[in-house]
Structure formats: structure tokens, C-alpha cells
Symmetry: C2
Subunit: 185 residues, 2 copies
């Protein structure tokens, strides 16, 4: 049995692959608590939280400009579909979350396309879903990109993303508009 | 300041009023752990779970036919709207959740209308949202109905629900099709 199956049912698991980039990822260690290139199995009933707080988040960014909970993912099943899908919700009061070209403010949510670019502040996350069979569990996998996902034609090498091939972002040296702290629960 | 306001901002809170009925509610004490007629303030970032497990659910039904987590509510904000809305998701693998006339299977989700009837097994929950201003918090309030919400013209007295005035359900004596246990997380 491969590690990509549910141990109880041997069903293939849906995998959400997240390729991340931040201009300050070296040497600041923003992603140091994220395990790259290893799949993690999670129950599909649970909300998956991303943010600064290691107490409440599944995946943390070690960066004071990130909100305690920046965004969350919910698993669900579309009507008429047999596979898992993801919904994303912006949990930050002060920082917008951009899904492809759509801007989400606090508590806005959208269903994620199977392949999409998530941005907040200087963070870029390319999310790609690989369908499985199991509805009970799914997997996540993180990949660290050595360069911006917005400026390069050749990332990921197999699947160029022409719509992201223009620089719309501030330079790495710029000051982020993100909060330094939030009075959040 | 009334109890319906956010203590920090004095903003009015959105309230979700839930009128519940189950044919076996007396004398079985199915709803004994639910505080009726008192509003509870909750953070809008948190998922609200309903089910049998007191470890993971905000509101528990003391009934072995109920799943550990039967369904969940998520707060969100619609695009172009300034008020909170609710999304409901069926978290039970074996029992359908009916929202008005729509049947939700495991992990199906829908946005809740401002006023709607939720059913699963022999449970009936009339959910009515009262809009507030605060986005940080909301309130819940439970009311126990002495009789079925499906068969009575005069419940709630001020707001008859003609669309629910026909008996489509099994009698209180019938055996529920729900699971007696689930191997759920």
C-alpha cells in the first residue's frame, strides 16, 4: 500500500499540493515549521488553518506580519460530484486574500478551482488538487519555490502559468501593508 | 448595553434562533444539555458543531442515533453584503441532512436561507437569522417546541410556515433509520 492511500480502506487520497514562495523566505525562516516534500494525512471533516499561531493553525508562517489565522480551508463535496473539493475563507480582518484574480475580505469564501494562485501580502501559494477516492481523509504536500511564482515563465516547469507571468507585486524590500498584530481570537 | 451587543464595540450581534423539536424529547432528555432561552455569544471565526460528542460539539444531542458530529455551521460574509451569513455542512456519513427541500449527503454544504427548516432523522430545527452589525461575534438562542414544526399551522405563532404544514415524517413511534454508532473521527 502506498502512503497515498487511506490505511483503512486503501482508497486513494485527494492531495492538495501547495507550492509556496515569499521574497523573505531566506534567511528569515518564515517556512521553517513547514515540512516540505512530505505528505500529511488529515481528516476531511476538519478545518485546516494557516496563520501565525501555532496553537490553532495546522500550518504556521513564522512572520509577525501574518495574522493569527490568515485563512482556512474546508473540505466539502459538490452536488453531483464524487470527489472532495476545497473551500477557502479569509480569516484576517486587515489583509485581503487574493484567489486568482478575486479579492476576498474578512470572512469572504470561495470554492477553490482545482488549480489556482493564492496571494496575501508578499505570500504566493500555488494550490493544485489531485483527485482521490476517499472522502474520509485527504493529504497535503508543500513545495518551496526558489523564485517568485508570478514572474517566472518556467515555474512549475511542466505547467507554465502565463496568467501569472507579470509582476504586479511590490519588491522584496518594500514594506508590507500587513498588520503587525491583531486583536483576534 | 444590552446582552445582544459586542462588549468591545457595542455593535449589535447577528443572532441565529433555533427552534428544535424531536418526538422523543420527553422523557428522554435528548436536549438536556442545551440551554434554552438564553443567548450564547460565539466568535464568528469558529465552526459550530452539532452532534452526539460533547468533546467536539458546541451543542450536543443526547441520543445514540445521532452521529458524533451531525452537522456544522460556518460563518461567512457574502460578496457585496455587510452582514454575516451561515453555511451548513452535513458531517454524518450515514444520515442525510435536509435543508428545506434539499437533501445534503456527507460533506455537502449549502448557504442557509435567513429562515429555513433543517431535518435529520426525527429532528426538526427551524433556523431564523436576525441580522446584526458585528462581524467578530454572533449569538445563538435555542427554543424548545412542544410539538412538531411540520404538522402545526400555529408554530411559531407569529410566523406560520405553510410550506411545513404537512406531515411528511414518520410517527414518533417509528424506528429511526439513523446509525447507532459511527466510526467517525
Amino acid at each position: 500500500m502506498s502512503s497515498f492511500e487511506d490505511a483503512d480502506t486503501e482508497e486513494m487520497l485527494t492531495c492538495l499540493q501547495m507550492t509556496v514562495y515569499h521574497p523573505g523566505q531566506q534567511p528569515n525562516g518564515i517556512f521553517q515549521s513547514i515540512g516540505f516534500h512530505k505528505r500529511e494525512k488529515l481528516p476531511s471533516r476538519e478545518e485546516v488553518k494557516f496563520g501565525r499561531s501555532s496553537k490553532v493553525c495546522n500550518y504556521t508562517f513564522q512572520d509577525r506580519q501574518v495574522s493569527r489565522v490568515q485563512f482556512s480551508l474546508q473540505l466539502f463535496k459538490k452536488f453531483g460530484s464524487s470527489v472532495l473539493s476545497f473551500e477557502i475563507k479569509n480569516m484576517s480582518k486587515r489583509t485581503s486574500l487574493i484567489v486568482d484574480n478575486r479579492t476576498l475580505d474578512f470572512l469572504h469564501k470561495v470554492d477553490l478551482p482545482d488549480r489556482c494562485m493564492i496571494r496575501f501580502g508578499d505570500y504566493q501559494i500555488l494550490m493544485e488538487k489531485e483527485d482521490g477516492v476517499s472522502l474520509e481523509f485527504f493529504e497535503t504536500e508543500f513545495i518551496l519555490s526558489p523564485r517568485s511564482l508570478l514572474q517566472e515563465n518556467d515555474w512549475p516547469p511542466q505547467n507554465p502559468i502565463p496568467e501569472y507571468c507579470h509582476s504586479v507585486w511590490s519588491s522584496p524590500q518594500s514594506t508590507s501593508p500587513m498588520e503587525t498584530d491583531e486583536n483576534e481570537l
